[in-house]
Amino acid sequence: MLAQFLQFLFSGITVGATYALAALGFTLIYNASNVINFAQGEFIMLGGMLAVFFTQAGLPLPLALLLAILVPAVVGVLLEKLAIEPVKGAETVTLIIITIGASLVIRGLTAVIFGKGTHSLPAFSGDAPIEILGATLLPQSLWVLGVTAVVVVALWYFFNRTLQGKAMLATSYNRLAAELVGINTGWVLFMSFAMSAALGALGGILITPITLTSYDAGIMLGLKGFVAAVVGGLGNGLGAVLGGLLVGILEAMGAGYISSAYKDAMPFVLILLILFFMPRGLFGGKSTDRV
């Protein structure tokens, strides 16, 4: 009973950590530009696919992983420079369509270059499962959780203790005011896309040894990351992390105890319930309307 519960919990927080990284990506871009980046899932996919590709090309693992984070970051910056900046101030619908277009281009190119097959990555430190109270935990899960924890702490430090981080926060509160005190908001936009793509890619790399990856793996991961961001109250960093974990755990519990066929539907049921009963998300603040 307990072993089973623990088993679901472990798999839940592992995949939840990936959702958390994706949700942080959504949050970063949303705060900097008010754009919901529907291409976020493709960065997750790109991270995993590129890691597979670079290791198969014979690069040592650390270098391969680094490149698998850097390349998506460059793609993210290109997306911002080429497609988001030229339409500054456009309607929400327009921005949503642009990022959806970008996600199709990234997904399509990946399919053309790497094919439509499913790929896997060897676990970073072996496959020998660790037994805890009758449940098993993969060493890769520890990697996922450990790296996510490090990233969250690093981000917290960046936003609260460094000038650049504070500049990004200031821009998200009030762009005009930030510009007036001399913050380069163009740079902030640039950084948010780079960081958000890198975060997504990192999540994709970490989870690939457990869940495998393919050119179309980003759709669901991205949408669930979006759910996690909204659960946490869109724009709230800590909320995004907790939202990600919550979505992951709920999905694993739902699949285990209710119906595995409806596993993918769980996050979306959750979000509908939250929108009905706690419309600002679990951790969102109050919003007022400015006229």
């Binding site: 949503i96 959806i100 053309v112």
Partner: protein, 310 residues
């Protein structure tokens, strides 16, 4: 000005009257029928996106409810197709109203999120409940009978769909000029201002959302009967995106834009088939480029260029 507005409608009717006699074969007839069906769906969706300024990322889900109501109810329960179609529309309308009421009290991206979630749940349910829906493989749909007359040949379908499109364009043109339409445009312009002059913002938004969802459900039934077969792909996220894209490419808040957007995007897969393997890349690029260079959409951009307002 008034004449100007309806000129496009006469043009569409004229074209629809001539087309079946000039189209070389049934392949093109089928393409035009599918274009017209999509155009009607997009007209409904554009009322929501273009006139009320709200986006639905789950419209294919509503299409799916209609389509599967028309497939499942007559097959498993022996319902008359018209009754099944009505039942699908009623369920869709109720569901839309149930979801919309709390959501529209919020602002921003929440309707996008809620409709996205709803669409995905509907799609997953259609895939999983295989004993009713045939699962991912889909199921056949019985033919549509009207007063003892069965809609079967492509020609019959063509005239039925052509009539449907003409009436929908006419109704949309009238609707946006009615008090209801004016209220919608007012709340897109400024919600607060609309509220101040006495528009019940939430009620109008819910009404237009329900209307466009019911539209989608009815057209889902039509699609199902016309194709004779439904699969869950009809209700998937990608199809929802395609529908939104048709609205945006043709032109938000433009009745004729909806028709043009539907025509272009229905034809696109045929045109892109030559780019084997690159279809997705081409489709995505077209989306991005048209939004970057023509964020208002084709028809309003061209109309502004040639100095004619719609």
């Amino acid at each position: 000005m008034k004449k100007n507005v309806f000129f496009g409608l006469y043009l569409i009717i004229g074209l629809l009257l001539v087309l079946p006699f000039v189209l070389p074969n049934s392949f093109y007839l089928d393409l035009v029928i599918r274009m017209a069906i999509n155009a009607v769906i997009v007209l409904g969706l554009n009322l929501l996106i273009g006139f009320a300024g709200q986006i639905s990322l789950g419209h294919a889900g509503f299409l799916g409810i209609g389509a599967y109501a028309s497939a499942v109810l007559p097959t498993h329960f022996g319902w008359h197709p018209l009754l099944a179609m009505g039942a699908g529309a009623a369920v869709t309308g109720l569901l839309a109203a149930l979801v919309a009421r709390p959501i529209f009290k919020l602002k921003g991206h929440y309707l996008a999120m809620a409709t996205l979630g709803l669409g995905i749940i509907i799609n997953i349910a259609l895939r999983n409940e295989a004993q009713w829906t045939g699962g991912p493989d889909g199921m056949p749909v019985p033919a549509m009978g009207l007063f003892g007359f069965e809609l079967s040949s492509d020609k019959h379908w063509y005239w039925a769909v052509a009539l449907l499109l003409s009436v929908s364009v006419w109704a949309s043109l009238n609707l946006i000029d009615s008090p209801f339409g004016r209220a919608l445009r007012a709340l897109h312009g400024s919600e607060v201002a609309a509220q101040v002059v006495g528009v019940d913002v939430v009620r109008y938004k819910v009404a237009i959302f329900v209307l466009s969802a019911v539209f989608a459900s009815l057209m889902g039934s039509v699609t199902a009967h016309y194709g004779g077969f439904v699969t869950p792909n009809l209700a998937d996220f990608f199809h929802s995106i395609e529908l939104v894209t048709m609205v945006v490419i043709g032109g938000m808040a433009s009745v004729y834009g909806s028709v043009i957007g539907a025509v272009l995007l229905t034809a696109m897969p045929q045109a892109l088939a030559t780019f084997e393997g690159w279809e997705t890349v081409a489709f995505g690029s077209i989306l991005m480029l048209s939004m970057i260079f023509m964020p208002k959409g084709l028809v309003p951009t061209l109309a502004a260029k040639f100095g004619k307002g719609e």
